[in-house]
């Protein structure tokens, strides 16, 4: 059992008082910023980066990691109570969580989300412990072709998960794709849609867009809503879900753990995509999909489990390969480099106390979060009861300040304001900002990967099918694309001869 020695030593690292304290600080900040809409973990981590220069690498990463997964917990609370996702990864939780709250089951929704998050996070940590040392060979097979297939699949999922009008979701996604083309073409150096502005030469940064449409847009929209809708969140009682609710949600928690874990590992994946994929999966699996969007417990438990599992497992590519899987991991990467540690295949061997210290801190952090989130839900709700007239300007200020701090750029602040207005108008006219932001992220990934693969394949698109992973992903893509059609067909047949069993092919899809 020699391989367990470093794992045990890792616990010794976490249990050092300094590290424990920073872990607690991290998860508390994480939960707080998760509760407060507009300020995401990526922005918070970026803001706090300068404060980590003077602590040890392992301590710094423990705290930053705590912010990251703590935010996944906290983001749920606002999603459920206020229909205001604190984090992008909690956007889908809004659909059913808020409905549950309106039915007086806010406590149940939060309880389920907490338990799901804990299970998902813990499952991912166990997976990380055993998988991290062997994952290197698998993840390297992800080349441009695989990224292209993955991005295609992601964009398709964006279209299928939207809650409102499909047409509006597609319009928002198209706008996202268009925004993704702004900036210098990385293959030719040609400037696209920059209007001669150097500020736009690198394209629009993801962070100001996310901060604008999710953060500022929401704040503006809520200010308008204040008089019409009673925004005082529903009373939270009985956070322990009933046995029946648990039973109903246990399947989705299990599936969410697995799905989230794998989507988190994949480069380009992460908590947001995992939560959306889980929601789509639960909706497609459900015997009565029409319950979704009207307060289905699975619609809360699944995505919340998946986003926590993915948040944890996205550390795998970073710590084992030095490949950041998403924006937040990119910030962690920066934090490690500032500390003089280069993440990569050598990290586990050269720096075992850092690797296992960080991994094991997540066990501790998850326990802290579980302890805090269930009994303290009431306290967090109180934070949200702070009058909008006070909270809104403060959040707006923090958002703008955060936007400035990331690149020290007033231009970014302007972008946040512009996208805040866009986000506000979108909400007002019934467009979901989710598809826009996701299509924006995936759009640039799709374009660059697709063009890169075609260069590698010598311009022959058949090359995508010559590589097993990309071929599989593309087949899944086709399946997902034609599934609604098949479902509709089956539903029509079911209507004619009632009581047909659940279709088999969905189970196959799960194994992919």
């Amino acid at each position: 059992m020699d391989f367990l020695n470093p794992v045990i030593n890792g616990f010794a690292v976490v249990l050092e008082p300094t590290n424990l304290l920073y872990c607690l600080i991290g998860v508390v900040i994480g939960m707080l910023i998760g509760v407060l809409p507009g300020l995401g973990p990526a922005a918070t981590i970026a803001i706090l980066l300068p404060l980590t220069y003077n602590v040890e690498p392992v301590t710094a990463i423990i705290m930053l990691a705590g912010i990251f997964y703590g935010a996944q917990y906290g983001g749920t609370i606002t999603s459920v109570l206020l229909k205001l996702p604190g984090e992008a990864s909690s956007v889908v939780t809004v659909f059913d969580g808020y409905q549950m709250a309106r039915q007086g089951k806010a406590g149940t929704a939060l309880g389920l989300a907490s338990i799901g998050s804990f299970v998902g996070g813990t499952a991912a940590i166990i997976g990380l412990t055993f998988l991290a040392p062997i994952v290197a060979s698998f993840a390297l097979d992800f080349g441009p072709a695989e990224y292209s297939a993955l991005a295609l699949l992601g964009i398709l999922l964006v279209a299928t998960i939207s809650s409102g009008s499909k047409t509006k979701a597609l319009i928002a996604a198209a706008l996202g794709l268009l925004l993704a083309t702004v900036g210098r073409d990385i293959f030719t150096g040609e400037s696209r849609f920059t209007f001669g502005s150097l500020e736009l030469a690198d394209g629009i940064d993801f962070v100001p867009i996310a901060m604008g449409v999710f953060g500022l847009g929401e704040i503006l929209y809520n200010l308008e809503e204040r008089h019409r809708a009673a925004k005082a969140p529903s009373k939270v009682t009985n956070v322990w879900p009933s046995r029946q609710d648990l039973k109903q949600a246990s399947g989705s928690i299990g599936r969410g753990s697995v799905l989230g874990f794998f989507l988190g590992i994949l480069p380009g994946g992460g908590a947001t995509i995992a939560s959306m994929a889980s929601y789509a999966m639960e909706k497609k699996r459900a015997k009565q999909p029409e319950r979704f969007g009207k307060g289905a417990p699975e619609g809360v438990a699944g995505p919340e489990t998946a986003n926590n599992a993915a948040a944890t497992s996205s550390f795998i590519p970073l710590l084992t390969l030095g490949i950041p899987a998403n924006a937040t991991m990119a910030l962690m990467f920066g934090a490690l480099l500032i500390q003089g540690v280069t993440p990569g295949p050598q990290l586990v061997e050269e720096n075992p106390e850092l690797f296992w210290g960080v991994v094991n801190s997540m066990y501790i952090g998850n326990i802290l979060l579980l302890i805090m989130s269930l009994p303290l839900v009431g306290l967090f709700v109180k934070i949200l009861r702070v009058r909008a007239a006070i909270l809104a300007p403060v959040t707006a200020l923090i958002t703008l300040l955060g936007a400035y701090t990331i690149n020290n750029s007033m231009f970014d602040v302007t972008l946040v304001v512009v996208f805040g207005v866009i986000g506000y108008l979108m909400k007002k006219f019934g467009f979901e900002p989710g598809p826009l932001v996701l299509a924006f992220v995936l759009g640039s990934l799709l374009e660059s990967s697709l063009r890169r693969s075609l260069l590698v394949f010598g311009g022959d698109p058949a090359g995508f099918f010559s590589r097993p992973i990309s071929a599989t992903l593309l087949i899944v893509f086709v399946l997902v694309a034609v599934l609604p059609g098949i479902r509709a067909l089956l539903a029509r047949r079911k209507a004619s001869d009632s009581g047909a069993p659940a279709p088999e092919y969905i189970k196959e899809k799960e194994n992919v």
Binding site: G189, L198, G322, R452, L455
Partner: protein, 333 residues
């Protein structure tokens, strides 16, 4: 384990951050041109790259040393965008009082202008270069599966070879496209966003070759995951003594990343002298020397005039090379 931060360092960092925020928000004009009083408050060292990259790390290393000698904080301000052109243009427009410095990458002056429009290019004549810092070498690495162990394996392969670059208008792209032309090998140029993804693509054999900075490639070279074929510096790199240079192998394509500190044009000579003295003091410190070694940087602590001459020479040379082989760095062949 390592050192624990004293309360003083934490406070110092916090106050530096505060000062940074204050100076960034307030009017930085500084007013006084009385250079005897220099430095007059914090000196901003702007970096056109994101935190964590090698340019940023170098800036932090010299800011730490220089702030001690100058007796003023030297906060590093990251302002990424357009390969650093954004930050350069901003600093060039600041008052020439020595309170605003920039860490320049040579490629921005020597190579990027070959790929972008004239108004996006940065002119070194807009700056007073204070001091050259170091040289960061490019190494050509081959994937394990490609089977290439030496450059002759590549030139003798007799087929089209895919190579990853760190982006359009970078030293990585210039070095490889010129090398391939000079060796008369057919190759496909696959641009990535930066060094990391290009190296990862080599590790996964999605491209067979890539040219990245030594600091990035070294862990993988040491682990035996990629084979170093050659370095593009004029002389062998002391950290990789067994790898030949492109010159030794018969190719005339000297490319490396050089870095220098500069101030807006017209900075008073005595301010420049003070800065230079502070940097020279830093160069002598053990902390800075071991920083260079850890990051595989070769010191190139030359004067500002030498930097300008050398960079202009390189710019002219690259322009001539690109024209000679009718290479277009922006892929529209």
């Amino acid at each position: 384990m390592m050192h624990f931060p004293s309360r003083r360092t934490v406070l110092g960092a916090a106050s530096a951050v505060t000062l940074l925020a204050l100076t960034a928000c307030g009017n930085v004009a500084g007013g006084s041109t009385d250079s005897a009083k220099y430095p007059n408050g914090p000196i901003n060292l702007t970096v056109g790259q994101a935190p964590g990259g090698s340019t940023d790390l170098i800036a932090r290393a010299i800011s730490e040393g220089a702030s001690e000698t100058l007796g003023a904080p030297v906060p590093v301000v990251n302002k990424p965008g357009a390969n650093g052109a954004l930050a350069s243009k901003e600093v060039a427009g600041k008052p020439a009082d020595g309170q605003n410095l920039i860490l320049l990458n040579a490629s921005l002056i020597t190579i990027t202008p070959l790929a972008v429009t004239a108004d996006e290019a940065v002119n070194i004549d807009d700056f007073d270069v204070i001091a050259g810092l170091s040289q960061d070498d490019y190494v050509l690495v081959a994937s394990d599966k490609s089977g290439f162990k030496t450059i002759t394996d590549v030139t003798g392969a007799g087929r089209n070879i895919t190579f990853g670059t760190t982006g359009v208008g970078t030293g990585s792209q210039l070095a490889q496209t010129v090398l391939f032309k000079q060796a008369d090998v057919k190759g496909t140029d696959v641009p990535f966003d930066s060094g990391k993804p290009a190296l990862t693509a080599v590790l996964g054999n999605q491209v067979e070759l890539a040219t990245v900075q030594l600091g990035e490639a070294m862990p993988q070279i040491k682990a035996g995951k990629v084979a170093p074929l050659l370095v593009f510096s004029e002389e062998r790199n002391s950290f990789l003594p067994d790898t030949p240079t492109a010159k030794e192998s018969g190719y005339d394509v000297p490319v490396a990343q050089y870095r220098a500190v500069a101030a807006p044009k017209g900075t008073p000579q005595d301010v420049q002298d003070k800065l230079l003295a502070a940097f020279r003091e830093t160069f002598k410190s053990d902390a800075y020397k071991s920083f260079n070694e850890q990051n595989l940087l070769t010191p190139k602590e030359i004067s500002g005039e030498e930097v300008v001459t050398q960079w202009k020479d390189y710019a002219a040379k690259y322009k001539a090379l690109v024209e000679k082989y009718s290479i277009s760095l922006n892929g529209t062949k």
